[in-house]
Amino acid sequence: MRILRMLWSRVKGQAAQGREDEAFDVEVREHIAMLEERYTAQGMSARQAVKAARRQFGNITALKERQRAQRGILSPTEWWRDVRFGLRMLAKRPASNAAVVLALALGIGMNSAVFTFVNGILLRPPQGVSQSRKMIELWLKRPKKTGPQGYLPFNYPDYAYFRDHAKSVEGLLAFDGDGVDVIWNHAGSGQNLNVVAASGNFFSLLGVNAAMGRTLSVDDDRIDNPRQVVVLSYACWKDKMGADPGILGRTLMLDGEAFTVVGVAPAGFTGLMVATEPDMWAPLTAQEKFTHDKTRLTSRDDSWLIVAGKMHSAGDRKSVQAEMHVLAKQLGLAHPEEDEVPDAEVYAMTLMPGPFRGYVFAFTGLLMIVFVLVLLIACTNAASLLLARATGRAREMATRVALGAGPARLVRQMLVESLMLAGLAGGAGVAIAWAMSRLLMELKPGNLPIALEIPIDWRVVLFTVAVSVATGVVFGLAPALRASAAEPARVLREGSPTAGRKKARILNVLVAAQMAMCVVLLAGASLCVRSLMNANAIDPGFDTRHIALADLDPGSLGYTPEKVKDFYTRLLERVQRLPDVTSASYAASLPLGTSRQVTTAGKLLGNDPDAVPADVFRMEPRLLETMGIPLLRGRDLTAKEADGDKPDAVVINEYLAKRLWPGEDPLGKHLVLRGEKTRSEVVGVVKNGKYRTLGEGSVAAVFRGTLPPARTLVVRAAGDEREVLNEVRREVPAVDPLMTTTMVQTIGDFMALPLFPARATGWLLGVSGILAVVMTTIGLFGVIAYVVSQRTHEIGLRMALGARRADVLKLVIGQGLRLTGIGLAIGLCAALGAARLLAPVLYGIGANDPATMAAVAVGLAAIALTACYLPARKAMRVDPSVALRCE
């Protein structure tokens, strides 16, 4: 420990070198001055006193040099010598060093990959924004709620109040967090574009200048005179407008309204929200033209604006926060009719909205724990290898100590070697991180409408360097400290580098620890993979094959209800006539989809205390058949029932039937949906399904008619649904040239989203688990092989004294299995604890599933047995005469 303390004080000393130099100068100057005073008092002349004082004190320059060297750890020439020596040592054993580097690189790379995401989403400020450090985000916090639900975006009047009154910022900008999909009609067809409504100061506050033309101005965004202008994103201009050089001044028809292009944003600027890539920005006050919402600029109930601001150049977040608290209070006083007064909270600006950062951190933190475990296993491998090798070098170390090398010197030499290994691994790790983050992106379901940019920037590199250094110190410290404790007299006398008992003990501890970590990882991985298999096998209550889906929204073209109905009727007729289509229908939302309508179903009109919470799915006739939802009793809705504007007939699932009318026949009974003034007759009962997540228990569901203009066309194909998909896409403009599908996907694409959590965790943990097993096997094999090589002499002696080969085998394998057993026992306990963290993402399997745990233990024991068998066989073949002679 003393060496550690020395090392630490030297590292600190290095950091404070400059300050210490000055302090020491003062100390020396004062000391000499006092000496001079003393000599003068003894009667010397001033000149004599100066000379005598210098003589008495000694060589100041030499002393300072010595102090510097003693204080810090950096003496360039010595380090260079260590590095050169280390390089020679590394080159001597290329194979085992390459193995260590590879294992470490995988461990470091995985951690860097996760960090790349954390960086891309949470740490990196939005691209293209100047002075991003001065930018802040503002959120409203509801005092009575906790978690992300407690945070609100702004409504327009509140934003205007903050914008006009805040003095601690240069200005506050606002934009629509979701953006709106509009239909761009051109050349007789429709195309979807994403428009974000943004305040007039949006671009100027962010310091984003137009690549062409101009950006939005405050004049565009006047509430009394909104201008219908847009600024295109660079990608939209290039890909969707064909990089038209004459784009400025062109008029685009968006949802039937004319908007003029005034500029193109610079390349790379995609706004302030993670995972969004707007096609264009339009003034806030012109939003009604494409949201068709007349109250958004006046309503105090519609929270739709993300607010951000730029601090004054001398401002800090604290003072801004203080002012925002006050403004929030004033706003509360101005609206005494509202029962809760939200507070305003200030965050630094990154791509992830402030209030949600904590949750993303928690998730990535969990991932990081897994990968740190992998890295630790790699570290123990490297440490065991270096330790084993250090035995071979015991003579070298002893000789160096005998020649006068201090312990600190040896520790440094060993650390330089391990840091060099770690450095190489870190370099390879960055490459692995790059590849891994690409792979992780592949796991993302295609229908998740997000675009992530995850660059490897200086933060990632810095992180990797830090992890590499930490890694090098962690796995290099044990061998280094062992080396420093070399006892030259004993080692040089005994000649043979017999392993000290202490060293064998460290190795044993390392192997057991490695085995324990491996159990934890493997148990987690097995649970996830099994749950993934379960999830794939879960019956969602509908047929997940041969279905094509297309989202449509003629309402955004401002069509009347009659025109909408006409469009849908004609489309359905054409689609049903396609040769490969067996049936087709419409739904407002689908089970396991991202949007849902939640209500309660009871038996009484008005407030029914016994009402059951239920999910509502709006559908047209034949949807059940098309989706493959089995109808158990009764019948489907008729076209007349589905078209009515009140739900006079409904189909419910078994679970709701059992809850409302246990033991009775639900057909012909009446139920009341919350807020409805009339009863609905139950005409059919369908099998239970999964409606929100695959892992959920029983959920009540009601299927009813009355669809809104935005619908999903559901088509069942006789053969390949992909072909049907293309045909459907062609049919839409054939029915109405202005219309286009918002999104088309197969049922397989659709199911990727509900299956995503299990798939992602399954993949990540699966890969980590396999890595852990491979590394642990190598580690165990290496240590047992090393122990055998150390005990060759002893084994030879035993055999000479009559031990049989079987005894030797038992001896070696017994030692390996003992370590394995200890590791397994510790690991299983830890795994049982760790598995609880996984419980929320597991499907159909308990967190401490005994079969899984047993399989992991048996599997690892078998692998361990194999890892021990090879060296044991070698030990068995030891020829006593040879073993004894070579001593």
């Binding site: 000393g13 302090a23 003062v26 006092m34 005073e37 008495q56 000694g58 060589n59 102090q67 003693q70």
Partner: protein, 114 residues
């Protein structure tokens, strides 16, 4: 190097400084040098600068601590004081020294035999 003076044996300066601080309480480098000079009666040939090397070494091991203050004649000076761990170390070192000194004494007293 004056006649009749002995060089300070490697490692012994640390012990002397520790003991001085233990006996005298907090002192600056000049004070330590004076005290050692006084006790050794001018027998030791000590470059006073080397005291600082010892002080730095002891500080790095955590055996002494230092604090800036003002000396008796109003000069800025760093005052060193012994820590608890330093006192323990002093005890160990003292024992060790006495043992070695005892052995040396006995060895040097050996009469010529035969």
């Amino acid at each position: 190097m004056g006649e009749g003076k002995s060089e300070v044996l490697q490692g012994t300066l640390d012990l002397m400084v520790l003991k001085t601080l233990y006996a005298m309480g907090p002192l600056h480098g000049f004070g330590i040098a004076r005290r050692i000079e006084q006790v050794s009666d001018g027998v030791l040939d000590l470059n006073e600068g080397t005291v600082y090397t010892a002080l730095l070494r002891l500080q790095q091991r955590g055996w002494i601590a230092s604090k800036w203050g003002t000396s008796e004649n109003n000069r800025r000076a760093r005052f060193y004081s012994i820590t608890r761990r330093g006192a323990e170390q002093l005890e160990r070192e003292t024992e060790n020294w006495e043992r070695v000194a005892g052995v040396m004494e006995r060895v040097l007293k050996l009469e010529r035999q035969g």
